[in-house]
């Protein structure tokens, strides 16, 4: 019994050590969103100025009214953001092959740069809102592009991913969540 008591400090140290070690695995940049399970912010963003309207996806701007009815993904992107280019094929696949409606918020971008970027890389977005001063994105709690939000049928934010979407995130988190939210 007494010997066990002498072991106590060692065990305590071991516990603290394990806790700290696990802390290394966590990404300090991954800040939990304050908006999970809350309604998406109310906003009305114009289309990217100069975007051709006819026969083009992404015309007409984006407002919170569009975010109800079906499960949608809102993706915050910019032409100056390198990881956005990396996740672009993943988003394109999600929108064209995996049947998820993807909306875009173009964050603090020059209109001509954004349009060039879209015509070069393809436009998977059903609609794009241009957030030139970044105010609406602050309402969404955006702190670094790219960020993606999954919105349920009632227009509530259910999931947030910071950083580029990868095929793994889509397969393991986004698609199962979309399936679950469509049933609910």
């Amino acid at each position: 019994m007494r010997r066990l008591l002498y072991l106590l400090p060692f065990l305590l140290f071991l516990g603290v050590g394990v806790a700290f070690y696990l802390g290394f695995e966590r990404d300090p940049r991954d800040i939990p969103s304050a908006l999970i399970d809350k309604p998406a912010p109310t906003f009305d963003l114009p289309a990217i100025p100069g975007q051709p309207v006819q026969g083009q996806l992404g015309a007409g701007g984006l407002s919170s009214a569009k975010l109800t009815g079906d499960v949608t993904l809102v993706n915050v992107f910019a032409s100056w953001c390198i990881p956005c280019k990396a996740e672009h094929p993943v988003i394109t696949r999600l929108s064209r092959e995996q049947g998820v409606t993807v909306y875009g918020i173009n964050y603090k971008d020059k209109p001509e740069d954004a349009l060039t970027w879209l015509s070069r890389n393809g436009n998977p977005y059903a609609a794009i809102g241009a957030d030139q001063d970044g105010r609406v994105s602050i309402d969404w709690g955006v702190y670094g592009v790219p960020e993606s939000y999954l919105i349920d049928r009632k227009g509530r934010i259910r999931f947030k991913h910071v950083g580029p979407l990868t095929p793994q995130v889509v397969e393991e988190q986004i698609l199962p969540m979309v399936k679950h939210l469509r049933q609910g």
Binding site: P28, R29, I31, P32, S33, A34, L35, K108, D133, G134, R135, I138, D139, W140, G141, Y143, G144
Partner: protein
């Protein structure tokens, strides 16, 4: 000459903490600006996480500084402005975490450890004093007493 130079250097050093706040952000009303500065110093920049938005040159920090000033101009109280930002970014943006259920360990933890240590020390010391006072040693037998008396008398 040396003294003048020193004075000049000292005067310069007060300007040294280069301000992230740009001249075009500063509000014309000095009272509002003072409040804006105080609020900005409490808010974490989410891009460079250990700086306040008042210190940081990140574009998002600038946007948030402008936002804080806009809210103040709109007539919000200081707590209202803080709420506005925490509603969007969570408690994480506060450089001084609030006292509530989820932060209990953070605030109470150190005191709990201190108390635990104090209790441990107290118990340990009390145990030792017990040994010193001979609480767990048997009293001398008659034979031992006689030998001790003999030894003590020898010295006289």
């Amino acid at each position: 000459m040396k003294r003048v130079l020193l004075a000049a250097l000292l005067a310069l050093s007060t300007l040294a903490p280069a301000l992230a706040v740009q001249p075009d952000e500063v509000l014309p009303d000095p009272a509002l600006e003072t409040r804006a500065r105080a609020i900005s110093q409490e808010l974490r920049c989410l891009v460079c996480q250990n700086q306040s938005i008042d210190d940081s040159n990140a574009p998002l920090a600038r946007d948030l500084r402008l936002l804080v000033r806009d809210r103040l101009k709109a007539g919000d109280s200081d707590t209202k402005v803080m709420e506005y930002v925490t509603d969007r970014y969570g408690d994480y943006v506060l450089l001084r975490p609030p006292f509530k259920a989820t932060t209990l360990v953070l605030w109470v933890g150190p005191f709990a450890v201190l108390l635990l240590g104090a209790a441990g020390t107290f118990l340990f010391l009390r145990g030792r004093r017990g040994v010193a006072a001979g609480a767990d040693t048997a009293p001398l037998s008659a034979d031992e007493r006689r030998r001790l008396d003999a030894l003590l008398r020898k010295d006289d």
